[in-house]
Subunit: 487 residues, 2 copies
């Protein structure tokens, strides 16, 4: 073959590569065509063999040519396109398995479009925890101390079989002090409590199984259950939490494989499950052989009233899987939660944890353990609890000051959330559009119900993320928006 080469216009192997590439792309060397051997072409072109080898290697790594064992180098066919495919809006075609995956995983409702300019910076009553209260610098110091003390080992995987025994021991002591007697071996560390929920689902449930949930409930728990193709069976919530006296017929009819409950400061309603109902729920779960998943995401953030015993505390053994987290009580960004389980399920959940993400960062775990052992966690909890309590009071005062009496609210005894019922005729989704323009954000109730329409008259406010002044401003703006949306 003839290839004009000019040493002055750049490296020879590039010139050979480019000219061969053109000839292949123009079809002068069709798929299957055999190229001359490197020795042969080197002689023809009067260049060294290594030059030709480099040119061939470039073309090969681009998938244009390839060797066939012992029989030289050939032009390869372009990668065939999938026949059975699907076109998306952009006209792009996807393989059939992607269509099938989409059918198995229908997309959720789309988010709101961003607002244009010219609107006040919103007072945001969504989100979780106030970064202004995070002990970020103290935690950084603690991480630095851990690296100085433990060395870079803590940036490895750590022991996969037994993650951070010292932190598990500290957590077990904390729970035991709250009357939940347990040992470090019964504690499994997770990437936030969300992973604990996911592990329980992966270990115990399969597509199509039914789960009994409070209705309304935590939106990301609902999203998890929906994403895994589980059937949601809802139980109403009143001022005393889940209406347990209503569930027996549901257990008989739907045979749920799991009961998911937030007995303390239920998200979104803020309700606490009465002691009597806790015992009824445990007895029913026991009778119908259904595990209880107890999500105590903010149990230590109590501002008034007396704590009821955790359902886990009443568990004679292995009935309740208890889940806790440091996201709300310390900082979400640590991504550390835990679950407490006894019996065969404990080891099963531990295996699911390992295969799901191997381990949670030993650096974060060790730092958290140190943070707790020197009392900084407890100090933060007291400080945050006082601040959040004041903010709750500020919210209740602002609501009395700015909102009509037709807006109903149960004062939450703790946690982060207040649940408002709007006057008849107000639609929370429409109110949110109005509120965004007025400069205040909240979570519309529809996000928390199995049937979103049930939530149209409710909104959830996270009072913990805002200062009293911000709260007063935000509620004043909410009042505006409410007026503007009156029918």
């Amino acid at each position: 073959m003839y290839l004009p080469l000019d040493p002055k216009t750049g490296p020879l192997f590039r010139q050979i590569e480019q000219q061969l590439r053109e000839q292949i792309e123009e079809g002068r060397y069709p798929p299957g065509a055999r190229l001359p051997s490197t020795r042969q072409l080197a002689e023809e072109l009067g260049v060294s063999r290594i030059t030709v080898k480099n040119a061939y290697a470039e073309l090969e790594s681009d998938g244009l040519i390839g060797p066939r064992e012992g029989s030289g180098t050939y032009v390869l066919p372009p990668c065939c396109l999938c026949e059975a495919g699907t076109e998306d809006e952009a006209g792009q075609t996807w393989p059939l398995w992607q269509v099938e995956a989409l059918a198995q995983n229908p997309p959720p409702p789309t988010e709101r479009p961003p607002l244009g300019d010219g609107h006040p910076a919103p007072v945001d009553f969504t989100g979780a925890g106030d970064p202004r209260l995070f002990p970020a610098r103290e935690f950084m110091q603690t991480m630095a101390a851990v690296i100085r003390h433990d060395g870079a080992e803590v940036l490895g995987y750590g022991p996969l079989q037994q993650q951070c025994p010292s932190l598990r021991h500290t957590i077990a002591q904390m729970l035991t002090n709250n009357g939940i007697l347990c040992t470090e071996d019964e504690i499994l560390l997770t990437t936030g409590s969300q992973q604990a929920l996911a592990l329980v689902c992966h270990a115990l449930l399969k597509r199509g199984d039914a789960v009994l949930v409070e209705d309304p409930s935590y939106n990301f728990a609902l999203a998890l259950f929906r994403t895994l193709g589980l059937k949601l069976i809802g139980v109403p919530v009143d001022a005393e939490g889940m209406c347990v006296e209503l569930i027996e017929p549901l257990l008989q009819k739907h045979r749920p494989r799991l009961i998911y409950t937030m007995p303390n400061f239920q998200n979104p309603t803020g309700a606490c499950l009465s002691g009597e109902r806790r015992r009824q729920l445990l007895a029913l779960a026991d009778r119908y052989n259904i595990p209880i998943l107890e999500d105590d995401y903010a149990g230590d953030l109590r501002y008034e009233g007396r704590a009821q015993p955790a359902i886990k505390r009443l568990d004679p053994g292995g009935r309740v899987i208890y889940v806790g987290s440091f996201s709300k009580m310390l900082m979400p960004g640590l991504r550390v939660g835990y679950l407490l389980a006894e019996g065969p399920i404990r080891g099963i959940l531990a295996r699911h944890k390992r295969v799901t993400d191997l381990a949670t960062s030993p650096l974060i775990l060790r730092a958290l353990e140190h943070f707790m052992s020197i009392g900084r966690y407890q100090a933060h909890l007291r400080r945050a609890g006082r601040a959040y309590g004041k903010r709750r009071d500020a919210l209740l005062a602002a609501i009395r000051r700015h909102l009509p009496a037709s807006v109903r609210i149960e004062a939450p005894q703790g946690g982060l959330f207040a649940w408002l019922q709007l006057p008849a005729g107000i639609d929370a989704e429409a109110l949110l559009d109005q509120a965004r323009r007025s400069g205040v954000l909240f979570a519309p109730g529809s996000r928390f119900f199995i049937e979103p329409a049930k939530g149209l008259r409710f909104i959830r406010l996270n009072f913990a993320t805002r200062t009293p002044d911000e709260i007063d401003l935000g509620i004043a703006r909410l009042a505006q928006a409410l007026k503007a949306s009156q029918p």
Copy 2:
């Protein structure tokens, strides 16, 4: 009722509580018995009503007594025990659902018992990456800088819909420089590459589905597939990687729903998939409508030879899900990996990520992005690559020096692992017991095969975790152990 009280022996409400507790436990107040009202008892005992209320509250929070709407306070039945249960070795009874869970999730083989004393500190050829090379302090400085610059916000959840766009942008650029053209929107950040594998399984597969894997393969991928109840279809591996020319009959017979492959420095064999086989595999996956999960866990750790194009690079679009990680190339403790996917599956995987653990720590993500943008990651990669390359050479030299020629090894061109075939008649499991006594640890081949027995003549050595001197010592000890195990 009469309760003897003595103000000198402690708070009155405690005395009332303790005496009532005894009477209930002795059965003098059986379950269902009605207690006197607080007013009534206060009068009888001549104490304030609040004192009695406090006593009742303590008993209630211990689950001994409870109110019934509008009708006073009653003694509660003890929490009933589950009838249908199972006893474990300790004689403890568990609910039936735990037995069922155990049946669905059979336990894996148990670990080796720890050695007694009197053995040399082992040279450990297991594990991943050498902490002595981790840039731990530099990364701490980077995290501190991120907190100074971004504030405590980075210890929140961050935006769940769009995690750390700047890091995804940096990763997309890195991949594009390697010929894998992509944008940040196609990158999903994960808690290590293990989570990426798990997300793909949760989104695409269900219990009983078949997965085509290299045999041997990465032990934690096999553990994941087994834990999720998937059927493993193995393909032999030779010096050119997965024997792709053997898979078509397997695709026809077992109709796998996923092909999992490590084309670069395959774990455990260290083999690299030839360019020709990469193209064949893609064409076959395309023809049979099967997604390819390409795990490039250590693609940038190459010490010699020319890189073949990633399968993803040859993908016309949406056929291949590409997975990368910073665990092997930087530090496992960051728990950051990523996947690259186009088409409908991208959004599905993003939703599974959110419901699985909401988010990966924004602090770690931002710090990693900063670490890369100032070139520290690339510098570490060069430094680690040079060190690991030297260690590979040291391993090959030590093997020549100490081991009999009957031990066969293919020199790996990169990665962390060397795969040794033992002389006929040597059992790797027995050798490991001997080796532990001689002071050297390795991963026996049985961990990596679908049928563990197939691995009895193989062992995997991680040469990257040990210095040349440690390697020479370790291989000398391995030679001892080998002699001691000769039949």
